[in-house]
Subunit: 150 residues, 4 copies
């Protein structure tokens, strides 16, 4: 991906709000790689509602910079699950973040269980070390595997 001109602001770098759109692109690609197009998930009547988001802006991104997004499901706890994100430009990691989601049945407007294919996917994940667990980078954290208690 490249930073679009419309995503910059008068500071000359990507506006802080642009990152959540990029995270959204990242998790939709991640789901696609798991074989589950979000368009299908959505049109199938389920939404993955964002209930919480956290972003650590380590370095600004200027217009036209190319970067990659890594996204992975890093934890499932009851009816919610968490995606972790890393943005990298040529110099390395420039942004980290997490979003926590609830699965909602649109017709009944009720929370539903996280789909089994996502639970399975996160069980098989071991290369991602949860960065912030929705806590700031300054927090004390011990390295530990993703939470799966669903």
């Amino acid at each position: 991906m490249r930073v679009r001109f419309s995503e910059t602001d008068a500071m000359g770098v990507a506006n802080n709000g642009a990152y959540l759109a990029w995270f959204e692109v990242g998790r939709i690609e991640y789901l696609r790689e798991l074989g589950h197009s979000y368009a299908d998930v959505h049109s199938g009547g389920m939404d993955m509602v964002v209930v919480e988001a956290h972003i650590s802006y380590l370095r600004p991104l200027t217009f036209d910079t190319t970067f990659t997004i890594e996204c992975e499901c890093v934890g499932i706890r009851g009816a919610t699950f968490t995606f972790g994100y890393e943005l990298r430009d040529a110099e390395g990691v420039c942004t980290r973040g997490e979003t926590r989601h609830a699965c909602v049945d649109r017709a009944r407007m009720r929370a539903v269980r996280v789909p089994e294919w996502l639970v399975q996917a996160v069980r098989e994940t071991d290369r991602y070390e949860p960065v912030s667990q929705l806590r700031p980078p300054s927090s004390e954290r011990s390295s530990r595997p993703p939470d799966v208690d669903a």
Copy 2:
């Protein structure tokens, strides 16, 4: 403020990214009330760079819903400071969030001390109880006054 149609997404509610633009509006109004237009701050050569953001989406906001933003500086620690936000619609608080900022001198691209007028403003603040300290709502927290150690 009202939720704009362009701020909704195919779920029929405000997209999760729209909130950071609203927080930005909120803190610029807050600075204006303190007598410091951000346009002046910015054109004076200083930027307040966002280094971290946290959002708790408690209830979704649908198109055309009117809501208010409360923003207040809730803590200053060295060269960074934190704004807290609460969005309310007719039914009460629907979103909480925080953003942490560093003051940067644009010409020298270096962090500079938080301006004295902002330190003063936060010292006088006592009605805001820090909601998340950039931690999730589920974290254990004791209620305490804003941090000022600058």
Copy 3:
């Protein structure tokens, strides 16, 4: 309204794309003044789909500038109708534009007649002189009243 920081780009002024969101705000307020909330129109099963848009950027708008939006229905022709817009800041008109819309029944996904209340509203309009008729400002045009042939 004020230009939001997130609406500016690295040129230091409002990004060209921000204007269409403002036009959208303008026409929704216009409909509200006519007694027809677009939220009601939309949830009533009809959408006013944009089929064409034209913008003349006369002067750039910088961050935090206050401006007003004037919007009026300036013509109805068969199943489509046209809104005209003028944005003004302290120095006068800075942007003009038009959007042409089709009324669509969402359930059947078919074009439907423009609602009678909108036809009536535009008949009563006489102060707006169509600026561009979706043609560039440089086009030869004679001043004439809004088209109503619905």
Copy 4:
């Protein structure tokens, strides 16, 4: 490119404002193919200010749809030039548009001549038939080659 979820609105399709951001991506890629990164143009002190934009939305684009953008400079007239755009999804052309630009020297804030490399590029263009010349598709138009009178 794919339609991002954040680019859709409550109608379930891409919001009308998203297209101008896509056009911007398209013309920046076009300039890059001509060997002129817009980041370089911009940091070299020149901006290509949008003075006019026109969009014909032929068919809506739903979330996650893949599409391509074709952009070409279709005319130069004095100090301004015009880009034409065509968006295509799997079913063919779904959007057409044009943007007219002025070259501005940022330091002196004055219009400057269109760069010779762009004049040259448009002279060599012959496959693009100007779609709307910033007039609506319904206008009478005869097919003619791009204007170059700079």
